[in-house]
Symmetry: D2
Subunit: 228 residues, 4 copies
Amino acid sequence: MPQKLQTPIIIINFKTYTESTGQKAIELARSAEKVTRETGIQTAVAPQLAELATVTKAVKIPVFAQHIDSIKPGGYTGHVLADSVKEAGAVGTLINHSERQLKLSDIDEIVKITKEKDLISCVCANNPTISAAVATLEPDIIAIEPPELIGTGIPVSKAKPEVITDTVKLVRKVNSKVTILCGAGIGHGEDVAAALKLGTQGVLVASGIVKAKDPYTVIREFADASKR
Amino acid sequence: MPQKLQTPIIIINFKTYTESTGQKAIELARSAEKVTRETGIQTAVAPQLAELATVTKAVKIPVFAQHIDSIKPGGYTGHVLADSVKEAGAVGTLINHSERQLKLSDIDEIVKITKEKDLISCVCANNPTISAAVATLEPDIIAIEPPELIGTGIPVSKAKPEVITDTVKLVRKVNSKVTILCGAGIGHGEDVAAALKLGTQGVLVASGIVKAKDPYTVIREFADASKR
Amino acid sequence: MPQKLQTPIIIINFKTYTESTGQKAIELARSAEKVTRETGIQTAVAPQLAELATVTKAVKIPVFAQHIDSIKPGGYTGHVLADSVKEAGAVGTLINHSERQLKLSDIDEIVKITKEKDLISCVCANNPTISAAVATLEPDIIAIEPPELIGTGIPVSKAKPEVITDTVKLVRKVNSKVTILCGAGIGHGEDVAAALKLGTQGVLVASGIVKAKDPYTVIREFADASKR
Amino acid sequence: MPQKLQTPIIIINFKTYTESTGQKAIELARSAEKVTRETGIQTAVAPQLAELATVTKAVKIPVFAQHIDSIKPGGYTGHVLADSVKEAGAVGTLINHSERQLKLSDIDEIVKITKEKDLISCVCANNPTISAAVATLEPDIIAIEPPELIGTGIPVSKAKPEVITDTVKLVRKVNSKVTILCGAGIGHGEDVAAALKLGTQGVLVASGIVKAKDPYTVIREFADASKR
């Protein structure tokens, strides 16, 4: 992973908000790309599946899927095949987001599939213990997000710094290489700076940017804060 | 629905086969479009989500999603929002395919969402009883597919004609308008003709076309058989 | 069903409350039994699975499971086999409660299993449309419970009488025999009387009784109101 | 755990077989108890939930539930509350059996609940990687069972010894205390002896005993082989 994506990194999860659906997904991705061009700080976006192909065509920053299934090619109507997101131009995928939680055996299987297909895996975890469990599966990225703070505007890096430091400590015991991000409630540059200071290599952020009046300004603020 | 799609109709479910992933999805959709142009028989395709936008741009025949979730815009990472498939150009969606079965309350909710968003709903059902239950929810299309025949090449219309006639009978008791399709094992023109003779208005087909050596020829055979 | 259970009927769902766990489950079941003995009104109880055998031994009123799975005997660790609840003395089971919703095909399969095993099926439904869909599967009992009122103390029979009358109307169109119950927010005798007047044959009730200071008194009030 | 259960241990998973349902569950548990009395080797049984209370009353060996849910007391119809299995006399529970797989966050939560309630946790895992992930959650017992061998009669300890040795190695890297069992295909004393020699502290077994013509003889053979 480190060879593929530079850190610190800001990954923007588009979720299924109106503000990031259809044509708006492209605009949002372009704002992120602009910030990367201006600041040199790595940004990435995770739009909905139906917009994956159009977003990857529109921007040069890395694009993630929000989810893939633990399947190989075959008869799996309505599921998400790794090959299809890769052919659509995605470089990686979120896995096990707290809004799309998976069975442990599926997380294990999906991480293995991403390695085979040379996709970057970003596995989400709710708490430090789960982060450590995930770390043993050797994904490229772990994103710790306490679900109770998601979408609240109360930044994990300030409200629950111990969640981050505990995560870093427990994860590093079992995995020295994985990139660690944090998320939930991140809305200001200082939240990003705090996250980095606590030992993470970046943030996974959604509503703080997607639902902002001016997303570009917020992404730029995040990027500037990442330079410390 | 009848005002939106003409019958008889051949809906091709691309599933997650290698033969219908990426660029191949576009070729397959073009074969279906060619048959419709040549024969006047309605075809439609249901590619994977990541290919929805590129397929809808490439062809003029109706394109379905393979699945949408029972969600409104919001924080639902990794889920499929009706608005996103609609903005990608889809005119409808499969729902409750036997490989992606849903809770009853989700089927009810998704059918309601498709009505709001003016999308065509095609709800799949495993047997005649379930078809009748689905029919009370008033979707546009019901597709009866006995799961034990899916992918076998043993056509439901010949191996289990009573499944189709029972379905038509039970469904019509509670719903006089819904379009009824059948699927599973359909591989030859005569299977399609048999399905229509048993009271259906078309077929939902996957491997019989997707995995055929020459998909165009099979679709054409299906279309010719649909003219009776 | 009518030959098995008389109506009006009050079915008490014990859920997984502390007030209905362990020894307390037996006391609660005995209160219901006492009311039936005193008033002649049919009551029934649905304790947790781990207490099924002890409750059926302690009382003579009908005992339901809260859930069974769509399985036959075999290798299904952690699932609930119809045979096991029957051997534990249950006469029936709740199915698809809004807190334990099932795939449509599983509801269909479980109703069929209850018929084979001569168990009474009580399928729960969230709204009138879903109730009608369920009715086509021909269960013994349907219980309509708007999830937004469950546990609120706001009785469906008074707050949303049209949900009940619409359910009765839609269900009777497709099934003339099924017993119709309603639930959610039922806390007083007058709520039960209102439910019966709106066309139901009884109530499915949980917190209104389980969490009452004196459950016996509430069950008695319900039974008295059922006599009209 | 070591203070609660001695090792080597033979845990018999009753699953939902006819041969272990109802009265037969009690007989089977008594066979296990008899072997423990005769040989001093620890056996334990995991009957279905509806038989938990009767089995715990009938025997003195430890009894496990096959599954509990990640819930606290409340409105969770059809779910399995830790308190209820404890009040029914269980000393622990299987978690995440390959036939009842769970989301990672639920496994984490259930292990925490078992600690609070002083229940023994036995988390099942499909492969060495998943075993290591589970080990970081600090359950009392891990049972590695390759799903492809379950119920086959092909013993994991002989067919795939490297699965066991890899599991022991990966688990011990992150957890020095957890008891490690193996399962799948175990049918003879020599399979048990092989499992112990490979570094486990016992076996989790189902059909090899439950479906044996004479379960007592097989359990006795397992116990004798455990003495080495």
